[in-house]
Amino acid sequence: MLTAEERREIEIKLADYPNKQAMSIESMLIVQRHRGWVSDESLGDLSELLGLSVADLDGVATFYNLIRRRPVGRHVAMVCDSVSCWIMGGERIRDRLCSRLDTTLGETTADGRFTLLPIVCLGACDHAPAMMIDGKLYEDLDEQRLDEVVARYK
């Protein structure tokens, strides 16, 4: 079941949108902000609320990189793996992150603290290498700065 808060946020946004279908992406992002991911159950709830089929919603969910259909940890770190970050040492940052948190890309740490994911270009090419944690952009990373940033997320 959608919580009252999720429902309220979706209804506020709906007023701005030309129709309910246009809300498909945003409504899933709202659920995801509260729960970290979009479950089958949530898809069913949104399907009812928006009058769209579950298949349509799942089609949208699986199309976009940032809608997650599997549970994640408390924080989600996305490491840019496109060309500018790569030539500026993105792999070093990725490897450091994986070894520090003792996990790999696509996985969640055993304590549920972090999920690590690769991401295509974050648009921060002039401040490479870059990554994003819970929607916040971190640029000009080196090992030391990476450690400092990661330590902020408990």
Partner: protein
């Protein structure tokens, strides 16, 4: 907030309010804000389109289509509502300019959207930000709310009876394909971001079936400045048939990476060696990808060329989205080519076969090649695949993947051949697991 860079050769038109706190509406008004749109209301659509045509402004998203002409294609009469759509889906690797506009001067995007609306007779605009730019949404939403509060948006704007304009902001959820204009409309309508068949073109049947003008965020943000300074003065700043300035994002192995506003036609070599301070650490320059990762590569001795759509075309590459990526001598071109194709393979929407299969096979072949298992036929195979993708896809993503691949082989064939001589990389394979992670 990243630090802003600066260089004396810059001509600051779009960036003149950067760093001045112009996200605040009062500051924006102090700096000539919302004057251009009031001029547009007063002088009318024909005047606006004419100024835009004279300015020589060409689409900053990458295609370089003349903006004034694009606006003039929208039918005057329409039963369905017309729309202006701002493409803030900046996703081409190497491109890092539009987010700076949203961050430092969001009102210029709003004002530009209103100007485009007046020009085509639309009463509504959408500003679409890519999902990864969600952190900018609050800046843009605040700017829109402030404009409403001042009576610049809504009904009877600027106190003019019957002049209405509304703006809605929406974000995506991460998809390069959505930067393509028809896929962008699908995404705005809440669907999978796959391209539409053209014709009909968006100017006739676009968003929700209404005539729609879709412009890159930088293009839109240029409009108020053009009206303020006059189309002719703007055109003079640039080069022949390439009016004005544009924001160039210079990244990779340079001393001072950053976003610089340079006149169209500015020399690429100077942009790298003077504006961006030359190659990092005094190393040797190997190659430059001049306009985002879909543009064919240039070698170190090919950089004496002007940065505009025509001169770059003559040089066998493209101006693209203005993302200049500089590669020093340490970069393996084969690996760079693989990294590039890995992006397009992952971001291919899968709608049409030449792109979906083509990018996949290119990635497979290049991976095998990179891992030291390539055979003599592979170079020809890669070329054959890429050539067969060109021009055979619904949207330009197929070309965007094929063009750089062909460029890498053409310019650095000997490096590809070195990989055939029993080359074994010591680096780990690029595995499909990484890609699975992305679909998590």
């Amino acid at each position: 907030m990243p630090t802003l860079v600066s260089h004396p050769d810059e001509v600051k038109i779009i960036s003149r309010r950067f760093g001045a706190g112009a996200a605040d509406i009062e500051k924006y008004l102090e700096l000539d804000g919302y004057k251009a749109v009031q001029m547009a209301i007063e002088k009318g659509a024909e005047w606006v389109i004419n100024e835009m045509k004279i300015s020589g402004l060409r689409g900053r998203g990458g295609a370089g289509f003349p903006t004034g002409l694009k606006w003039s294609f929208v039918p005057k009469q329409s039963e369905k509502p017309k729309y202006v759509l701002v493409n803030g889906d900046e996703s081409e690797p190497g491109t890092c300019k539009d987010h700076v506009i949203f961050l430092h001067d969001p009102h210029s995007v709003i004002e530009g959207t209103m100007i485009a609306g007046l020009a085509i007779g639309a009463k509504m605009g959408f500003i679409y930000l890519r999902g990864e730019y969600r952190y900018l949404l609050k800046v843009v939403e605040k700017a829109v709310a402030d404009a409403y509060a001042k009576g610049f948006l809504g009904k009877n704007i600027f106190g003019k009876e019957g002049v209405d304009f509304d703006i809605v902001t929406q974000t995506g959820a991460g998809a390069y394909e959505v930067g393509e204009e028809s896929a962008l409309m699908e995404s705005l309508e809440g669907k999978r971001g796959v391209p539409r068949i053209k014709p009909p073109f968006p100017a006739v049947v676009g968003l929700y079936g209404g005539p729609t003008v879709i412009n890159n965020a930088e293009t839109i943000a240029s409009a108020p400045h053009i009206l303020l300074m006059g189309g002719e003065a703007y055109a003079k700043v640039g080069s022949e048939r390439n009016g004005g300035t544009r924001l160039f994002g210079i990244s990779g192995h340079v001393e001072r990476p950053g976003v610089y506003e340079l006149p169209m036609g500015y020399n690429l070599k100077k942009a790298i060696y003077e504006v961006a301070g030359g190659v990092k650490g005094g190393r040797k320059l190997k190659a430059v990808v001049p306009g985002g990762s879909s543009c064919p590569v240039l070698k170190a001795d090919e950089l004496d060329v002007g940065l505009d759509f025509d001169q770059m075309g003559k040089a066998g590459t493209m101006l693209g989205s203005g993302g200049i990526v500089v590669l020093d001598e340490t970069v393996s071109i084969v690996e760079f080519a693989l990294r590039t194709i890995k992006f397009y393979q992952h971001e291919s929407c899968g709608w049409c076969i030449p792109c979906r299969e083509g990018t996949d096979w290119l990635k497979k072949t290049l991976t095998r090649f990179y891992n030291g298992y390539g055979n003599k036929k592979d170079i020809a195979n890669i070329q054959y695949l890429a050539e067969n993708m060109m021009g055979r896809t619904f949207c330009p993503l197929g070309d965007a993947a094929a063009m750089p691949t062909l460029g890498f082989i053409k310019k650095f064939r000997e490096e590809f051949e070195e990989y055939l001589e029993g080359h074994r990389t010591e680096k780990a394979l690029i595995t499909t697991e990484e890609m699975i992670g992305a679909a998590h």
